[in-house]
Point group: C2
Chain length 537, copies 2
């Protein structure tokens, strides 16, 4: 057996070369916890021994229900390096989905934040596989959970030198579930090999280029596709990391960026949209330490990317990925040719999902199974292949038969275009694309243009049934505080960019758009809410 | 079988995303050949079909005896992607070593440059495994070789769409032999997996950071440890590449750097020492397009690194590696802490072999099998482990028993120190380190200081036998054109840095120092030449 691509090597590198680099957590009570990779390493070793004492065998899963903080970080490595697996639980899922994910993963132990204990308590009766609970604190609060202990007692007295077992690189180190945007969340098991490769790729100059000089703040929850791989990628290079715990409000994030010298951060667009409103109201707050923000999970509008350049000196890179892809697939980096364009034209590319990162193969396939022309317009299904793309969902044999092509590409279910420069643009999900009279209308492109209207705070577009055209677009729009908009304004705005048959038939002005557990527009709920059939005029 | 880490994927990425990027060759006749990744791809496909016609089976090796040029580049991929292996032959080896390497690799076909055909002709009678010859040209010159054809006839009429077979990532794609500095060159077989990983790592910001915006000029011969992996790493990212063929003289290299916009180049120190003399005489030539030069194979002196910064605006990074390590192991990048030092102190670190690149594990082990303290002074053997370190020499079962530790580290035979910042410094080979009265003296450190003397052009230090101290250092020095030096000057110069017991007992002033096949000082020959026993005074 050659040298295996395992996560103990990712961790050991940080400890070997950068033992004094800091891991900083803004704790729920507002105080700041600081320690180093060296300190974390000791505790990760203790954790591994504690898992032995808990009776966890090779391959067993521990569920973690936690915000982003240093103990969660320790759980990213302790189970993995000792041959178990971390199941990163999404506590924002509705209860029946939450229970399903833990059941599906067969978690034997649940590690839970004191602040999230109610979610677990409320469902504890249904968590049949769970044998014990550990509260991520130094004491056990009032709780019905049992048996239960606290994390610090668990670690206390354990030796700080665990001998990592030999692990096959194909062994599982972790599991996440998809966001549940389109239905029941699906389980994805990750191998050591996948995340090792994803971590090296994460430092590639033509990807995120995460290096030892960076300071990384993952705003994206650590349950969302491995925190987009950031805690692992940052560890490989020994970068300083900053964890916000419960404080994902724009103000705390902005101040952490400023005070801790954060150079790289990542989250879904809604976070950065909120941040923009905050920064506009608090012009004295400065986030220009940022070298790049990776924004993905859904498409950030071009207007947001411009604003972050022009007003905050914090460049946005769009990323596309999935839970199934570890997650990074494409990134809207500029290449020699697009970097040479006038900056105004560069935005056209920066607003796309981007170029496949090294190690990722992509193609866009039409209904006949052919690659679409590289014209930036013709839509097809995005298919991807890479050593860090899953080779199947957990416990879903039927889905797995559909999910892959014969030559091993994952059918993403995303509708995309590809242009002559190799940029992929994800214009919709196949379930959300609006099929109007045999032609397709991209809901995402309409959304991005709507959000560029000065009076609009949030906007989404869904398909509604139509007697004649099968489906037609409906826009759902939240005006900015104090602003008003009407359908005529919006239609005039969209008409500047799109042909008339793309323009929504209906504009609903609302106070709020429902969001999913990972902060995406919840179109499933919206479609139920606006379940109408439009008549042919 | 998951997605395999194979070189067809490295190639396909360039062709998919950067089909129009150029590969430029300065041909032997001085003219320039230009084509694109798209063009090269067609020819690589043709080459694969041609290898079928030549009757080459899976795993068979083809030997390549060639300088760096586009046809050699095609041979980097054609055999590999179609399931064969390229044996990169070092034609600068003395005949008996040259024959040994081809015999050892069992090459069935030899591809040879017209300009190197004599070397092959002179040894053809001894090349027992070779069945046919292909001359890398569009016609066959006068030659005794047979059967023989020319490369262009071989490709001509072949289809441009070969279907790559499924290849296991552990399969061999290539073989190199070590430089033969210490004895018979040893064969190292490389797996697809090793070079795929080495290529992704090569783009890591904390390694060489090779990206699509770079223009890469490998001066290092493509037979020397995969051309240090550059043609593969550059292809993964679609970077423009420039090949000098026979023109490795400073003038042509400097002009190529200037005219083709070369941002990255790599070679052994002697090349850059010669370049410095040329640039000093031709101050109008400008190499400041260079972002970084990787210099390795032996240690570049600190004075060279300073000079390239100060006078040519072409920063040097020292790299350490071996044929056995694909080759990249460590790189003298600055880390946050050393980058913050005054630039004068930075040189202390930049003159070391450097920090292990992501994916490379290193340790320095003393005679008792313990890690040496991280004090930058205590010497021990450098041991390394990585998925791109070989797991054994070809056909050398006895050597292989000695070469690895029980936990899978390669014993490099290099003597090194490690400092508190994690920098490794390779101070000698175990065969060259001078064992004086039970203490060790680093020949390399003495050399680096000698070369810093203004009147010295080249210098090396070897051990000579001593009646009382077992071994003592002898310096062998080439003065600069027109300059004179004597032992007193040199001793006074060294005494500024080293304790008196380190100072050489003898200084030999010579016209030239013999070099090995890869441009290193040939200490084996020197030791034979100065085979004396010094007497105790
Ligand atoms: N840059 C982007 N632009 C557009 N869509 C994106 C982008 N990045 C991610 N997405 C969307 O997010 C999806 C992946 O999200 P995730 O894995 O979090 O679960 P989900 O697909 O939202 O939920 P589920 O699969 O359970 O329905 C992608 O398939 C794509 O639809
Ligand atoms: N930056 C460096 N500083 C000092 N020595 C170096 C450096 N880079 C490489 N070397 C030397 O080069 C060696 C690897 O060279 P290579 O594989 O070309 O063959 P060789 O060791 O010279 O020849 P052979 O193994 O056949 O004797 C290393 O083991 C080391 O001794
Ligand atoms: Mg999904
Ligand atoms: Mg060697």
């Amino acid at each position: 057996m050659g040298v295996q691509l395992t996560l103990d090597k990712v961790l050991e590198r940080a400890v070997d070369l950068f033992p004094d680099r800091e891991l900083v957590t803004k704790l729920p009570d507002g105080s700041v916890h600081r320690y180093t990779y060296g300190d974390a390493y000791d505790r990760i070793n203790q954790l591994a021994s504690a898992l032995d004492d808990l009776g966890l065998d090779r391959g067993d899963r521990v569920g973690v229900v936690a915000t982003n903080h240093y103990r969660h970080y320790e759980l990213y490595f302790g189970p993995a390096c000792s041959g178990r697996s971390i199941h990163m639980c999404n506590m924002r899922l509705p209860d029946h989905h939450f229970v399903h994910t833990i059941d599906d993963a067969e978690d034997r132990v649940i590690f839970v934040d004191p602040g999230l204990i109610e979610k677990v308590e409320a469902n504890a009766d249904d968590l049949d596989t769970v044998e014990q609970y550990v509260v991520l604190d130094d004491e056990v609060p009032e709780t019905d959970l049992e048996p239960v202990t606290d994390y610090e007692s668990l670690l206390s007295g354990q030796p700080t030198d665990y001998e990592w077992p030999e692990i096959d690189e194909d062994a599982e180190y972790g599991m996440c579930h998809t966001s549940g945007t389109t239905g029941l969340p699906k389980g994805v098991a990750y191998s050591h090999r996948a995340m090792y490769l994803h971590s090296i790729m994460g430092g590639h100059v033509d990807a995120n280029g995460i290096g030892e000089r960076d300071t990384i703040l993952p705003v994206v929850p650590m349950f969302h596709a491995n925190g987009w791989g950031l805690p692992y990628g940052a560890t490989l290079v020994g970068a300083k990391q900053v964890f916000p715990s419960v404080h994902t409000d724009p103000e705390t994030i902005a101040r952490l960026i400023d005070e801790e010298g954060v150079t790289f951060s990542a989250a879904v667009p809604t976070i950065w949209l909120e941040m923009a409103e905050f920064l506009d109201e608090n012009p004295e707050v400065d986030i220009s330490n940022i070298d790049r923000l990776t924004v993905g999970g859904s498409a950030p509008p071009e207007s947001l990317i411009r604003k972050y350049d022009e007003e905050y000196d914090a460049p946005i890179l769009q990323g596309w990925g999935m839970t199934e892809t570890s997650p990074l697939g494409t990134l809207s980096t500029l290449r020699k040719e697009t970097a040479a364009l006038p900056s105004d034209e560069q935005y056209e590319y920066r607003a796309k999902a981007g170029i496949p990162v090294p190690g990722m193969q992509t193609r866009v396939i039409d209904d006949d199974g052919e690659e679409v022309p590289a014209d930036g317009e013709t839509m097809g299904e995005l298919q991807v292949r890479s050593p860090w793309v899953t080779d199947g969902y957990h416990n879903r044999p039927e889905e797995n038969e559909q999910a892959f092509t014969d030559d091993g590409y994952l059918r993403t279910g995303d509708i995309a275009t590809r242009d002559e420069m190799g940029y992929i643009d994800v214009v919709d999900r196949d379930r959300d694309v609006i099929k109007s009279g045999g032609e397709w209308i991209s809901s995402v492109q309409l959304e991005n243009e709507l959000i560029g209207h000065e009076a609009v705070s949030e906007a989404t577009v869904i398909a509604v049934d139509h007697e004649r055209w099968q489906e037609r677009p409906m826009a759902v729009v939240v005006p900015r505080d104090g602003a008003t908009v009407d359908a005529d304004d919006l239609e005039a705005h969209l008409a500047e960019t799109f042909p008339s048959w793309w323009l929504p038939d209906v504009y609903e002005i609302v106070d709020e758009i429902p969001k999913t557990s990972t902060g995406k527009f919840d179109k499933k709920t919206l479609r139920d809410q606006f379940d109408v059939v439009l008549e042919a005029e």
